[in-house]
């Protein structure tokens, strides 16, 4: 009897070991490429082409080079301007619409809501052609303005759906009770709803920041020099021969670090954001 109990304990122990071994495999698998880029960015030029070199003394020369010779600050400035404007404008336009979709009763509401959502699903390469031509006619190619406009085109639908979900989470009775006390609709929206969905608005804003910050295809074709954003810096490293791996990795690290920090803040809302509020998990 005693040996059987010991046997069962051993099996349970082995199962635990197997579980954590599996977790380690998963985590290493998903984290390793980023780790490798991170270490490459602080290796010297010779070390970067020696994959056997796993232990080394870090250097900052690549990072410095990216700032001094690759004009990193100009790209950063453009990215910040584009992302901030897109986020602000998208939220201001989406919030009232989200409120209308969440609360009002009107004919064809769901159809309109789903039409709006479908705009979020358009492939970038379909959107880029008309924007390229129209931008050329109007003369706004290679400006931050055209990027802000085109980024709004997929972030407004996204924000409407996200915010609608957050508003629907709040019991409608709160507002109706406030009206009985003589509160108007506009007042209840600003004094009741917006403070209550504050975290939701913040999460939505961060998602918009990440999506616009990461956008590449539209930025690549709609800008050429002046309004280029950070992700387009990757095109500097496309030729196969003579790639400066260290600089390339530094650009990658500098571009992704802010996004990684932001994504950890909204970890709780990840599923919600990636499914446009369709699943609240």
């Amino acid at each position: 009897m005693a040996s059987e109990a010991r046997h069962r304990r051993r099996i349970r122990f082995l199962k635990r070991v197997g579980l954590y071994a599996g977790l380690v495999v998963v985590v290493v698998g998903f984290a390793f490429p980023f780790y490798w880029m991170l270490t490459t960015s602080i290796k010297t030029r010779i070390e970067t082409i020696n994959p056997a070199k796993w232990i080394f003394s870090p250097t900052l020369e690549n990072l410095v080079f990216v700032f001094t010779k690759r004009n990193f600050l100009m790209y950063l400035k453009n990215s910040l301007l584009t992302v901030a404007s897109t986020t602000l404008l998208s939220l201001v336009l989406a919030l009232p619409a989200a409120y209308a979709f969440a609360r009002f009763r009107f004919k064809g509401k769901e159809n309109l809501a789903f039409t709006v959502l479908s705009l979020r699903m358009l492939p970038a390469m379909c959107v880029v052609l008309p924007y390229f031509l129209l931008g050329r006619f109007i003369g706004i190619l290679d400006t931050s303005l055209i990027l802000i406009i085109v980024y709004m085109s997929f972030n407004i639908p996204f924000a409407i759906w996200m915010l609608r979900g957050f508003i629907e989470d709040i019991p409608i009775e709160i507002e109706e009770a406030a009206w009985l006390d003589g509160c108007t609709l506009t007042r209840s929206l600003f004094k009741l709803i917006i403070p209550l969905i504050g975290p939701g608005v913040a999460a939505t804003a961060i998602f918009i920041v990440i999506q616009s910050w990461n956008e590449f295809a539209l930025a690549l074709f709609l800008t050429s020099f002046q309004a280029r954003t950070l992700p387009t810096m990757s095109t500097m490293f496309l030729s196969v021969t003579g790639i400066v791996w260290g600089e390339m990795a530094s650009v990658g690290v500098l571009t992704t670090l802010p996004v990684l920090v932001f994504s950890l803040i909204i970890q709780k809302y990840m599923i919600r954001g990636l499914t446009f509020g369709a699943i609240k998990g």
Binding site: L19, G22, L23, V26, G29, F30, P33, F34, W36, I49, N50, A52, A94, P96, A97, Y99, F104, R105, F106, L117, S118, L119, M121, L122, P123, A124, M125, V127, L129, P130, L133, F137, S153, D169, T184, L185, W213, N214, F216, A217, L220, T232, S234, T235, L238, W245, M248, G252, V259, F262, S263, L264, Q267, K268, M270, I271, L274, A278, K280, G281
Partner: protein, 316 residues
């Protein structure tokens, strides 16, 4: 504006228009108008090399050119796109389910483990391309360095394995998404059906097949459809890794649009026709997705209070 007579603001036309119209007008101008313009351009022979005035209305000839195979790379691009879609969605589902089930246990420090899943999801896709380019390099890449221990050397971005390599990157990037979704689904299943199954003497395989999978179905459907839409939309990582090459091995439809419209040729009219084909494919899957969401949404709203207190964030 005064409170409308009798009861509710919720049916007030004036308030509704004030809230809804601004964003709807903006969306109409910045999305619908350009998309209508795309349809128009796809019916012309507009060429970037010549002036806009030189264009002619070409009817459906751009589309006929595609379907009759005069554009030799069109059907291969469609095929590559479908292969890419099928492979990535299948692999992401299988691995994602495995990861979700792994996480669906009592684990010390679960939130920390799960944070690592977020990395691939939010990194700039163009940078993901760079990152893998670094690792895929035949001579200096870390993957071949590791494979060297078993005497293997793969030309990752060469003609034979390039398609597989871009599939692998997409699987790396998006499996965590499927995993997180299915994990949320698993967490939402109550323990009751499991308990009665155990009482009835069901094997763990039977439990998985007849209880877990059916209850996960809504999550699986949404995840698979969203991944399918994104598989059609992908551009960044593939552009950075291969630009559709070598030859046209990794030329997905989105990259075919780029090659016909922007690189070398500048045939915007023909490129727009390819874009319309891609648009229609994406719209079909999007429509299915929205049907599904439309069915599950009312139930989700009814359960909102319950759902708010469960889920990945608080469970972790």
């Amino acid at each position: 504006m005064r409170k409308p007579r009798r009861g509710s603001y919720w049916t007030s036309r004036g308030y509704l228009l004030r809230f809804l119209l601004p964003s709807m007008i903006v969306l109409f101008v910045i999305v619908i108008v350009p998309m209508v313009f795309l349809w128009y351009v796809s019916l012309t022979n507009y060429d970037l090399g010549k002036g806009w005035d030189q264009r002619h209305f070409a009817g459906l000839s751009n589309f006929l050119m595609l379907f009759k195979g005069e554009d030799r790379d069109f059907w291969p691009a469609v095929l590559t796109t479908l292969i890419f879609l099928a492979c990535t969605v299948t692999l992401e589902f299988i691995i994602g389910l495995a990861v979700a089930m792994l996480f669906n246990r009592t684990i010390a420090g679960k939130a920390v483990w799960m944070a690592f899943l977020i990395i691939p999801l939010t990194i700039t896709p163009a940078v993901i391309g760079l990152m893998w380019k670094l690792m895929y390099n035949t001579e200096y890449g870390v993957l071949n360095f590791l494979l060297n221990f078993i005497n293997l050397k793969i030309n990752w971005l060469g003609p034979r394995s390039a398609l597989l390599s871009i599939i692998m990157v997409d699987v790396w990037q998006w499996t965590p998404f499927v995993a997180l979704m299915l994990y949320a689904g698993l967490q939402a299943i109550s323990t009751e059906p499991y308990e009665s199954a155990v009482v009835d003497g069901a094997s763990s395989l039977q439990i998985f097949r007849f209880i877990t999978l059916p209850l996960l179905r809504p999550m699986i459907v949404v995840a698979v459809l969203l991944r399918s839409i994104d598989a059609l939309r992908i551009f960044d990582t593939v552009y950075v890794l291969t630009k559709g090459g070598p030859g046209n091995i990794t030329e997905l439809l989105s990259l075919h649009i780029y090659r016909v419209g922007f690189e070398h040729t500048g045939w915007i009219g023909r490129s727009s026709a390819v874009a319309i084909v891609l648009l229609i494919m994406a719209t079909i899957i999007t429509t299915i997705f929205m049907r599904v969401v439309n069915i599950t949404r009312p139930a989700a709203i009814a359960n909102r209070i319950e759902e708010n207190t469960s889920g990945f964030g608080s469970a972790a």
